[in-house]
Symmetry: C2
Subunit: 159 residues, 2 copies
DNA sequence: CTCGTTGCAAATCCTTTGCACGTCC
DNA sequence: GGACGTGCAAAGGATTTGCAACGAG
């Protein structure tokens, strides 16, 4: 499942002059398990196994991992950054579906974007190295729920 | 050029129960001139014509405009939100090219994405209402500059 | 020893809020 | 004179930084 193994990440870290400390290892393990977690969420998970870990360490680790291109930082509209391990499968084709109703984020791997990328490179002479694509909308579940309830919920999505 | 005129925006505001105050008008004018400005940048521009305006007012105005769907708020990876007027032409098809070398943001209107949207709706039963697409890469200018300089600049893009 | 790493607390940055004062019907 | 808007200052929340202590080689 995870072509990005702990071992390969350790190597990357070392090549960058960093060590795989227990805190970093634990952080990476969390990242390997779950995607698009925020720093705070990762911190919470870590607390269970490493109660002494500090939030700052998590941020520092995530910064390093992102610099080394091991991890992918994405800023969501709620102002929170989420982090994903870059796996082989999502290195290129990776997009999010964010439901505006329930807030759930679904992850999609699909190469539909790679065509778009090629188009962009050709049409605009822009060398694409990465992308970030999020669709905002209504997920299947919420759509169905809507059908059964009052038909005008669309505007009330704000706090 | 701007199908979104001051007049039509005034109407939208009033329909939403808001007034087009001088501060709001000035803010809208800035937004009509330039795209993807941050709140701070908009504030700077405004200072020239309305020296007494407060940053908070700018934020409040932007919030209203975004709620009314007049403006589009996009969070960039630097943690700053930028705002664009939603014009007819970019209401649907709107993407950014962010150069990782010089930091410039170029805006593209292209309906390539609408096909993708349809695909997503079909394949994943997700009703798309909006999207946010940014390509990270190297713009034409920087790409050409690179060719003339040392060939290994790729890793040093950090502060 | 030395250097990278850590936890904590303080600092920072962007953004939001509280509040008293203005303004417009 | 009540509701909406404003500027300012303070608060807020996420992230970063300074620093003394720690730990492996």
């Amino acid at each position: 499942m995870s072509e990005q193994s702990l071992a390969s990440i350790k190597t990357s870290l070392q090549e960058g002059g960093f060590k795989l400390t227990p805190q970093r290892e634990a952080t990476v393990k969390v990242l390997l398990e779950k995607d698009h977690l925020s720093a705070e969420e990762i911190f919470m998970h870590l607390k269970q196994t490493n109660p002494d870990i500090g939030l700052a360490t998590v941020y520092r680790t995530l910064e390093i991992l992102t610099q080394l291109n091991i991890t992918h930082k994405v800023l969501f509209e709620d102002g929170l950054a989420r982090y994903d391990i870059r796996r082989e499968s999502n290195k290129q084709f990776h997009l999010h579906l964010l439901c505006m109703e329930c807030g759930k984020i679904k992850e999609i791997y699909d190469d539909l974007i790679s065509d778009l990328e090629k188009e962009i490179e050709k049409k605009y002479h822009f060398q694409v190295e990465d992308h970030r694509l999020i669709f905002h909308g209504i997920c299947t579940d919420c759509y169905q729920k809507r059908q059964n309830k009052t038909p005008e919920l669309s505007a009330e999505t704000r706090k």
